[in-house]
């Protein structure tokens, strides 16, 4: 039996409901944009803190540089770099979509694949650079 949905008992849902949507590549690209953005927000204080150390005394600079090369920091830098590359490329993708270019379903899927591929390649490249 189909239930009658009343708007009084069911207020308009706040979008997006991840549990309802079917997972597909452009949607994954969109969610990854948010996730990488959240990672990058946390990197901003880190960047300032490192820069603050590096503009201090020569000892501060050496210490900051030593800290950057510590294993834990390398992982942090790797995550931030990959998130940055992804957010940057997908941001360009979003801007082109907003400009009305490449809006067809196929093009959106293709560009999402390309951006995710670039992110994966950058993950490998940064992994290689940082170790």
């Amino acid at each position: 039996m189909q239930q009658k949905v009343s708007h009084r008992t069911h207020p308009a849902p706040l979008s997006p409901r991840l549990s309802i949507y079917r997972w597909h590549i452009p949607m994954i690209a969109s969610i990854a944009h948010r996730a990488s953005g959240a990672v990058l927000v946390m990197f901003v204080p880190f960047y300032l803190w490192v820069l603050h150390g590096m503009t201090g005394s020569p000892e501060d600079f050496d210490q900051a540089l030593l800290f950057l090369h510590s294993p834990l920091c390398r992982v942090t830098l790797w995550m931030a770099a990959v998130a940055f590359i992804y957010h940057f490329c997908n941001g360009i993708r979003f801007l082109t979509l907003d400009a009305g270019w490449c809006e067809s379903k196929q093009m959106m899927r293709l560009s999402a694949y390309i951006v995710l591929l670039i992110a994966m390649l950058s993950a490998l490249a940064f992994g290689w650079l940082l170790w």
């Binding site: 207020p11 706040l14 927000v41 901003v44 603050h52 503009t55 950057l68 940057f88 801007l95």
Partner: protein, 119 residues
């Protein structure tokens, strides 16, 4: 008409516009600190090279513009995420409010540091 809950966007156009505007600014500017960080990390730049760049008036100006764009971009981005996924009004409103305080306070702190270093 859909009644919007408290602490959700009533008009998304402004958010959308500022998010794009700050995105374009960041698109142009962010590669600079990115490569600067790589140069310092790899040892290609020592502290003098770094300070030479950061002390310059133009860099301070660019850094100021950068932090303003980052604050706008990060605040709207996080706000939209909270609006979408935090469904409890009692949780969402203080969350967005405190985020505004933290991001703007952080921005002021950063500006103070940018204009203070090197003297």
């Amino acid at each position: 008409m859909i009644r919007k809950d408290t602490g959700t966007a009533h008009n998304g156009l402004k958010d959308w516009y500022w998010q794009r505007l700050s995105a374009v600014v960041l698109l142009v500017m962010l590669p600079l600190p990115f490569f600067l960080l790589i140069a310092v990390y790899s040892g290609a730049f020592n502290q003098f090279d770094l300070l030479d760049i950061l002390d310059h008036f133009v860099s301070r100006l660019l850094h100021t513009l950068l932090i303003l764009a980052i604050i706008v971009h990060a605040y709207i981005g996080l706000k939209v995420i909270f609006e979408d996924y935090v469904h409890s009004t009692l949780l969402r409103v203080p969350l967005i409010g405190s985020m505004l305080v933290v991001t703007s306070g952080f921005g002021i702190w950063w500006l103070a540091i940018i204009w203070a270093w090197g003297g």
